[in-house]
Point group: C2
DNA sequence: TGCATATTATTTGTCGACAAAAATTATGCA
DNA sequence: TGCATAATTTTTGTCGACAAATAATATGCA
């Protein structure tokens, strides 16, 4: 607390403040360090990062644009809630994006994409071997995000990444420090998915992605004990 | 230029400035009043709306979040370009969202949704009858957006509305004041789509939406004279 | 005491100003 | 003249301060 010297200490590049605050708040929200409903105090953040409220507010506007925080006009702003009532809409969107992005990856991927995908798969396998649930969530998301990138459709990757973020938040609710046996099966399924992508087999990619996605959904739904799966038999 | 009186003239509610600027800029971008590549000058906007740069910048941050403008750090900001090279990714996403939202509308719509949908269809029919191409684009988008809302999946409606916005921008390039005969067919197809939604026939909804969407895509693609339709035979 | 109103305090939205970064123009030297 | 460097202008990012809006607290009256 002893602010010893009075010289101006910028110590920070010009446009980097907003990105720093945005990235950190985003991580804290997705990791549930800031659980849903947590109040966001501009002044507090400003003195925490030793900058004025202006860049803080810009970061908050961005987060609000992605739906990660809710802003009441002239009132408080807080971390957005997870909508458990409409969870099925999340699952529907997630399954469909799993399918579409994997299918497109099989169609449009390049050689270098496969290397990236395999690297993420190695990370995921390592996380499973280490029984590190938090790392599993992160590396699994990175794996599927890389597949989506290989599909080269910015509209789908955009939605998919948002869904994976939201899924990260949901999964954190349950796998705080939890060991599980199921993931070994996921590792094998990932290998199969890589194989059909490499073989450019769109139909098989769609099929495997569907099974894979619905398994994940079912695993989460077991936690919620909710029925009513929506059958988008496309 | 003669700043006659010095009394403070707020004349405007506290949080309304950003929304006003955001809405107006958004419309001007989508209507191509501000064509792709147009420079956005904060100071100019500030004096145009008689407010400081702060609310202007907040509106710009939001628009950048939606990809409608591109911001170079410490450099200029301009209206984002339309990516003609990857136009097929737009079509893929558009067709899929047409299908999914129409299917979900058949499944989850309520009685009051149909009234809204039919009202938009009436507007569309009126625009076609009046040969008003610009109104056709707007009312057609509103019609399908209403269907998406009836499907009650915020993730899909979010992406779909963004796609419809982008489509509005693309179509404006060609239908500046253009008369066309095709739309009459669209009116009939819309009626058919309403019927199968009302009948809660998901499969038929999917089928009609696919045909409808691919027709629109083909019509646009004729203008581009590009081949290579991606077959997402789901 | 209980409730309505008034006062104070906190927080948000906006402003004008300044400084850093880049673009533009001017200057010097070969 | 041609080009590199320096000075100037323009534009953006950040800051501290103020005012509106709301929340919290205090006061008055039955």
């Amino acid at each position: 607390m002893t602010d010893s010297d009075t010289n101006s200490t910028p110590e920070r590049k010009r446009g980097s403040g907003v990105k720093m605050v945005y990235d950190l708040l985003r991580d804290e929200i997705l990791d549930l360090v800031l659980p849903p409903g947590s109040p966001i105090d501009e002044v507090q953040l400003a003195e925490r990062f030793k900058m004025s409220r202006t860049p803080i507010r810009e970061a908050l506007v961005r987060l609000a644009g992605e739906g990660l925080i809710d802003t009441l006009p002239n009132r408080s702003t807080m971390v957005s809630n997870i909508d458990f009532l409409n969870m099925h809409t999340f699952f529907d969107a997630l399954v469909l994006m799993y399918r579409v992005t994997t299918r497109l990856a099989a169609q449009y991927h390049r050689a270098e994409d496969l290397q990236v995908i395999r690297a993420h798969q190695a990370d995921f396998a390592a996380a499973v071997a280490a029984q590190d649930a938090l790392a599993m969530i992160a590396t699994n998301a990175a794996f599927h995000s890389a597949i989506a990138e290989a599909g080269r459709n910015a509209y789908f990757t955009g939605l998919f990444n948002r869904l994976l973020d939201e899924g990260r938040r949901i999964l954190r609710l349950y796998y705080q420090s939890y060991e599980d046996r199921l993931p070994q099966r996921f590792v094998e399924e990932h290998e199969d998915i890589i194989a059909v992508i490499a073989a450019r087999d769109s139909e098989a990619a769609d099929r495997l992605a569907t099974i894979h996605a619905e398994q994940i959904v079912q695993q989460i739904q077991k936690l919620f004990a909710r029925g009513g799966k929506l059958d988008i038999a496309l």
